[in-house]
């Protein structure tokens, strides 16, 4: 090829790369624009304060009520329950893999956890219906087990791979010298783990938890299938709940285009977006802090 042709090709592709780069940014930025625009439309009809503090979500009734509290509370209670299960299990497993497992066991456990992460959420939700629900119904003597507890168990399973992977990286990255120093003063393995390694890896572990929380809050299919979807203010883990994601999934299919109800679902999505963003950004912040200290 002649030099001129090569040069024009070079310039052409620079433009192509830059162009697609910006197109992608515009598209992804469009998500934010869409959320803001539609939420704004919603707040023309409903006062923001009523939305945020409203105790009742009944958009289909004669006098529609758009209070998001029951939905936010549902999401919170399910996520909180999931974390109660996933955090100890996740950190325990991460510590086991990083500190106790032999290389051979490690080579088995790591792919196993990646496999668990790969299971589609709809399959986990399905198992919530066929295994967890009858189990809960039996144990707690209920008519069915489609409730917050069910969702929490499933979300724990879904958040575990995230928590384990990141927490394991963090524990693994703690410098060997810390450990050696601790052993040198006569500490046992367990004491070293609890008093030296885990504190040193703490920012990384907090990051793992935050990213797990982000994943749990945003998960749709599992909670949609396994929590019963009753939009009442939940009072216990055995109540049926309707999370923010499930609300969007159920109601978006039925609402007419550009009605108050339609816009309301976008407003819910905006709150959801902000919640996951906060969790993810906190996670990112702690990961960066951890990296700064230990230069992974």
């Amino acid at each position: 090829m002649k030099y001129k042709a090569r040069l024009s090709l070079d310039i052409l592709f620079k433009i192509v790369f830059k162009g697609t780069g910006f197109l992608v940014l515009i598209l992804l930025g469009g998500i934010l624009a869409m959320l803001v625009y539609n939420s704004f439309s919603f707040f023309l009809d409903v006062k923001p304060l009523d939305f945020i503090t409203g105790m009742e979500w009944s958009p289909a009734s004669e006098t529609p009520k758009y209070g998001m509290l029951p939905l936010v509370l549902s999401t919170t209670i399910v996520t909180f329950g999931a974390m109660l299960i996933a955090i100890p299990l996740g950190i325990g497993t991460a510590a086991y893999i990083a500190e106790y497992a032999t290389p051979r066991v490690k080579n088995l456990l790591k792919p196993a956890i990646e496999m668990l992460a790969a299971v589609p959420s709809v399959v986990i939700g399905f198992l919530g219906i066929v295994i967890v629900s009858p189990g809960i119904a039996n144990l707690a003597d209920l008519s069915n087990g489609l409730n917050a507890l069910n969702g929490a168990i499933l979300l724990a399973v879904m958040a575990l791979p995230t928590i384990i992977t990141i927490a394991e990286d963090a524990i693994h990255a703690v410098p060997k010298t810390y450990k050696e120093a601790s052993y040198a003063v006569g500490a046992t393995k367990w004491q070293t783990l609890r008093k030296v390694i885990i504190p040193a890896a703490a920012p990384g572990i907090i990051a793992a938890v935050m990213l797990g929380v982000g994943r749990a809050i945003g998960e749709t299919m599992t909670v949609l299938m396994a929590t019963g979807n009753a939009s009442i203010l939940p009072t216990s883990m055995f109540d049926s709940v309707k999370t923010m994601t499930a609300t969007i999934a159920i109601e978006m299919g039925e609402v007419p285009y550009q009605t108050t109800h339609y816009f309301a679902l976008y407003a819910i999505a905006t709150v959801l977006f902000l919640m996951t963003l906060a969790a993810n950004m906190l996670g990112e912040y702690f990961i960066n802090r951890f990296r700064k200290y230990h230069a992974v």
């Binding site: 869409m34 285009y257 993810n280 990112e284």
Partner: protein, 285 residues
């Protein structure tokens, strides 16, 4: 603080960690065992080669299989070129300033955005604003959009691992920047890019929330997927059979079979990614 080590407590402590690990493994085993043991009986040539019939209480799942395959191809066609080009721009052309760093951080954060929000965006942009209607194309574009942040991030990571000295080698023999990227940088980064792409597509193939309102259908009559029509997909089919069907108990076996086919597809894609990564690591050392 005084340390009082004792053998018994060491065993208990070790046991606690082992127990939590065992529980996690138990979860995985339950998931796989339940699906495989109850779904395997369904698996047959007829099941994957016949369309659903008798209100989906009989027949196979050919229609959702075709739908998922078409959907994944569309996702790939959209997300791979755009994602890879965007990553090339960010890593090879964009200056390293606050703007680029902000863009990079935003893209990373976008991969944490719940998939249902991508569904809403697909509904607003592709289905309604661009008038594509609820269709295979709209759903494919939505999943493509969902996949973009992952593909960009993994591609950029692969590009970052290529040392600058490799780029300089090509430039020093008179290659233009584009030739350097095309002939040296991309081929070297290919295994990393491919791993990321396959993992992302396997995620997209299992996604349900983004296609809920962009084109997935409860049931369609024809078996082939047309771009401008609604479609059936494996994850959505499973969701429908297990929660929305009028005779849920009767179709439960089909639901198990669908779940099994779905996780086989997803696991195969993951295995492909592991294989690429494994082969690449072996070549490197």
């Amino acid at each position: 603080m005084l340390f009082k080590p004792s053998k018994l407590s060491a065993v208990i402590e070790w046991g606690t960690l082992l127990l939590s690990t065992a529980l996690v493994c138990f979860f995985l085993i339950v998931v796989i065992w339940e699906i495989v043991s109850k779904g395997a009986g369904q698996l047959s040539w007829d099941f994957i080669s016949k369309v659903p019939s008798n209100g989906m209480t009989r027949g196979g799942i050919l229609t959702p299989i075709i739908g998922t395959v078409m959907l994944t191809i569309l996702t790939a066609l959209f997300a791979i070129p755009f994602g890879v080009c965007c990553a090339i721009y960010l890593n090879e052309y964009a200056e390293d300033n606050w703007l680029t760093r902000t863009i990079r951080a935003s893209i990373r954060n976008l991969s944490g955005v719940p998939s249902i929000i991508y569904g809403l965006f697909g509904l607003a942009l592709f289905v309604q604003a661009l008038q594509l209607g609820t269709s295979l194309l709209a759903a494919g574009l939505t999943l493509g959009l969902l996949s973009l942040p992952y593909i960009i991030t993994t591609t950029e990571e692969a590009l970052m691992r290529i040392p600058n000295s490799t780029r300089e080698a090509a430039l020093a023999v008179g290659a233009t920047k584009f030739e350097t990227i095309k002939d040296v940088v991309l081929p070297s980064a290919m295994p990393g890019i491919l791993t990321g792409v396959v993992l992302t597509l396997s995620r997209a193939a299992g996604e349900t929330a983004p296609i809920l309102f962009t084109g997935a259908a409860f049931y369609i009559n024809s078996s082939s997927g047309y771009l401008n029509q609604e479609f059936m997909a494996l994850p959505y089919h499973l969701y429908m059979l297990s929660t929305q069907h009028q005779s849920i108990d009767e179709v439960r076996p089909i639901a198990y079979g669908t779940a099994l086919v779905l996780i086989i597809v997803v696991f195969l894609m993951n295995l492909t990614a592991f294989y690429i990564r494994f082969k690449y690591r072996k070549n490197e050392s």
